[in-house]
């Protein structure tokens, strides 16, 4: 059965179909053909082909029965390294069938693991090295501890360029009978931020409304999907309306289910766009840093964020 979800349906199944990562594809293809691959560490931004490449490797190695020799885990979804180790243990207990002497474990978002958990992972990798190969993926290889990095062949995925995304979109729109105007293509690329999965999702989401895709339609879809802006919260605070700022903040955090630290990140970025004096921007940045520090030390991020909002109220009064 082929999937109706385009990111699945149009996911490349051969090395030659993968866009934008030519050099990596060549190297990994030759490794795969030798039927003996080392552990791999795939580093790079979201939606550049890391999972896809791992799947291609597996399918090339194991053919139609690939599911029996492949375990996919997502480090940020599993509850702790012990769960990961348990699953790996169960999977690695049986030997691989067929001509390939190992099985493959794909651990997505490995940089979500703490350094301690990564140490545990390293031991697991060693224990099962006779029967298993690990493919780790991460956004930043710097967040992976050195001992793991040194055990893996590292591949750095580039952000996809406009021509790469365009190629993918064109291919899909042809087989789905869509018309995409050049302007829409431009916005699709900007909205995707080099993330191929996101651009395909945007395309399918828009196409579910109409098959002729123009600038306006796609802009509407993108702006509807944008998380509620933290900026609105800060605007209320600067205008002196603490209560509404607080209510909005809780609203945003709950609806988008974002953490206190994520909010701090957006506030810190937003400060530089605020209509206040440079001196106050510096003070607010310091306050924001202090709030982040206290979130780490404290127990209830929302209290820290309220304290920070109160500082913004003061800044709005010119007393920051």
């Amino acid at each position: 059965m082929t999937s109706k979800i385009w990111t699945e349906h149009y996911r490349p199944s051969k090395f030659s179909e993968l866009v934008g990562q030519d050099e990596i594809v060549q190297r990994i293809e030759s490794l795969t053909n030798s039927l003996n691959i080392p552990h791999l560490l795939l580093a790079g931004p979201a939606g550049t082909g890391k999972s896809t490449l791992a799947l291609i490797v597996v399918k090339e190695l194991f053919g139609d029965n690939w599911r029996e020799s492949y375990l996919e885990l997502n480090a940020s979804d599993e509850r702790g390294i012990n769960v990961v180790r348990e699953k790996v243990k169960n999977f690695a207990r049986t030997k691989a069938l067929g001509q390939v002497p190992f099985k493959i474990i794909f651990l997505d978002e490995a940089d979500a693991l703490t350094p301690e958990a990564q140490q545990a992972l390293r031991r697991t990798m060693e224990n099962y090295s006779a029967t298993c190969r690990f493919i780790l993926s991460c956004n930043y290889s710097s967040k992976i501890i050195d001992p793991i990095q040194s055990r893996c062949a590292i591949f750095r995925f580039k952000l996809l360029e406009k021509k790469d995304i365009e190629k993918v979109i064109k291919k899909i729109s042809e087989s789905e009978n869509l018309t995409v105007t050049p302007g829409a293509m431009e916005i699709l690329y900007e909205g995707s931020e080099g993330d191929c999965r996101r651009s395909i999702n945007l395309l399918q989401s828009t196409a579910s409304i109409s098959p002729s895709i123009n600038e306006n339609l796609i802009s509407t879809v993108i702006s509807n999907a944008k998380p509620k802006d933290i900026k609105v919260v800060l605007d209320y605070a600067l205008a002196g309306d603490f209560l509404r700022a607080r209510e909005k903040l809780l609203d945003v955090m709950l609806k988008e289910s974002i953490s206190g630290q994520d909010v701090i990140k957006s506030i810190q970025k937003e400060i530089w766009n605020l209509p206040v004096e440079p001196e106050i921007k510096v003070k607010l940045t310091e306050k924001t840093g202090e709030a982040e520090f206290r979130i780490v030390e404290g127990s209830d991020p929302f209290i820290q964020l309220q304290a920070l909002l109160a500082s913004f109220v003061l800044a709005g009064l010119g007393k920051g």
Binding site: D77, S205, L254, A307, K319
Partner: protein, 395 residues
């Protein structure tokens, strides 16, 4: 017999310091009796105000003045409709036997929980059902959870009783008891009671038995303070060393008190005071975090000091006027949101597994993904969505 019972008013004319409330209550009863004939008007009365202002007393006075019996329900009786029916049945049937009318009293409605059980909706159901007047007492009718009640009921506010009235009442009691006390002590009892006449009478009775009442130190008295009063003391008053011990007398875990303070800071403070108070609250939270992480309980002292004295001293001088303090609303909001987003999360989880992405990323991009899934039934089948999840999508 405690004086508080012995001298509890029996008639409207005995009730002190609540002239306006008494007038309104009489009017309500008159209209209720008329309404019986015309089927109009409200059937329930809410008496609300701080502790010790005479809410329950007024309810009993209304009953005795209208020659009715009190039939009292507490919050736990309101947990489900079946139970409520069972309890009310005898009350309704007995009417023909005794010929006495009844008044249904729901005391301390603040205790009704709305979160886990439908106590409040049962209460409203009761009001719709009843042929007897319903009297409800509550500390804070403006609490959001009680808002459905407000449309169905006549609301009467009982004010804090001013200290002169309290002084008069205390003198009267002493006269009847044939006792003598130094007037200074009586006045200071009345002032310390802060509008709570029940506390004042209790204090008077305890002091009257002492051989030398002048040695009593009123500041050291450790009476239980309810949370509304505690808020008032923190936000209105001038901080002193008693403030430091205030929360020892509040029957509530300190974590809950933190939420009360958090909710109510903006009700009193603004500008610099607001920032100062929240800065101190944020330090309270930091100490709380350190206690959890290091299990070093001595930090509790700092947590407590910053939360009481620290918050109170964030202002210049004192605050006047009446402020309605709200119950913390954040926990309830989080709970309600979790109910709402549970389905979103389960759909995102199925989607994530299916297309090889992390669940967190699927949740982040859910608005786009939702549109894709919603518009294509084949995908809904492909992801094996259940009925609840489909209902969520099409809502």
């Amino acid at each position: 017999m405690p004086w508080i019972e012995k001298y509890r008013p029996k008639k409207f004319s005995d009730v002190r310091g609540q002239a306006e409330a008494v007038t309104k209550a009489r009017k309500f009863m008159e209209e209720f009796n008329l309404g019986k004939l015309t089927r109009g008007g409200k059937k329930a009365l809410v008496l609300h105000g701080p502790p010790g202002t005479g809410k329950t007393t007024l309810a009993h006075v209304i009953a005795s003045e209208s020659n009715s019996e009190i039939f009292e329900l507490n919050a736990s009786d309101l947990r489900d409709k079946n139970k409520l029916h069972e309890i009310l049945k005898p009350a309704i049937e007995q009417q023909s036997l005794t010929k006495k009318s009844k008044i249904i009293l729901v005391d301390e409605a603040d205790g009704i929980s709305t979160v886990d059980r439908g106590g409040l909706s049962e209460l409203i159901y009761l009001i719709d059902l009843t042929t007897f007047p319903v009297i409800i007492t509550a500390n804070d009718i403006w609490d959001r959870k009680l808002s459905p009640l407000r449309q169905k009921t006549e609301i009467i506010q009982l004010k804090e009783i001013d200290y002169k009235t309290i002084t008069d009442v205390l003198f009267e009691i002493l006269r009847k008891e044939k006792l003598f006390l130094n007037p200074n002590i009586i006045t200071s009892i009345a002032i310390r009671a802060k509008g709570d006449i029940r506390a004042a009478i209790n204090d008077l009775q305890s002091v009257s038995r002492m051989r030398d009442p002048s040695i009593i130190e009123f500041h050291e008295r450790n009476k239980e303070v309810d949370i509304f009063n505690a808020m008032r003391i923190i936000f209105k008053g001038k901080p002193n060393n008693d403030t430091l011990k205030l929360f020892d007398s509040v029957k509530m875990p300190i974590d809950d008190i933190i939420l009360w303070i958090e909710e109510n800071i903006p009700a009193e403070y603004s500008g610099i005071e607001l920032a100062k108070a929240y800065d101190r609250l944020s330090k309270v939270d930091v100490f709380k975090g350190r206690i959890y992480k290091q299990q070093y309980w001595r930090f509790l002292i700092y947590e407590n000091a910053l939360l009481s004295f620290g918050i109170s001293s964030a202002k210049d001088g004192i605050k006047t006027g009446f402020t309605t303090y709200k119950k913390p609303s954040r926990i309830l909001k989080i709970w309600m949101n979790n109910q709402k987003t549970a389905k979103m999360k389960s759909i995102a989880e199925k989607y994530a597994k299916h297309v090889h992405v992390g669940q967190k990323r699927a949740r982040n991009e859910f608005p786009i993904i939702k549109q894709i899934i919603k518009s294509n039934p084949e995908i809904q089948v492909e992801l094996k969505l259940d009925e609840d999840e489909l209902a969520y999508l099409n809502k």
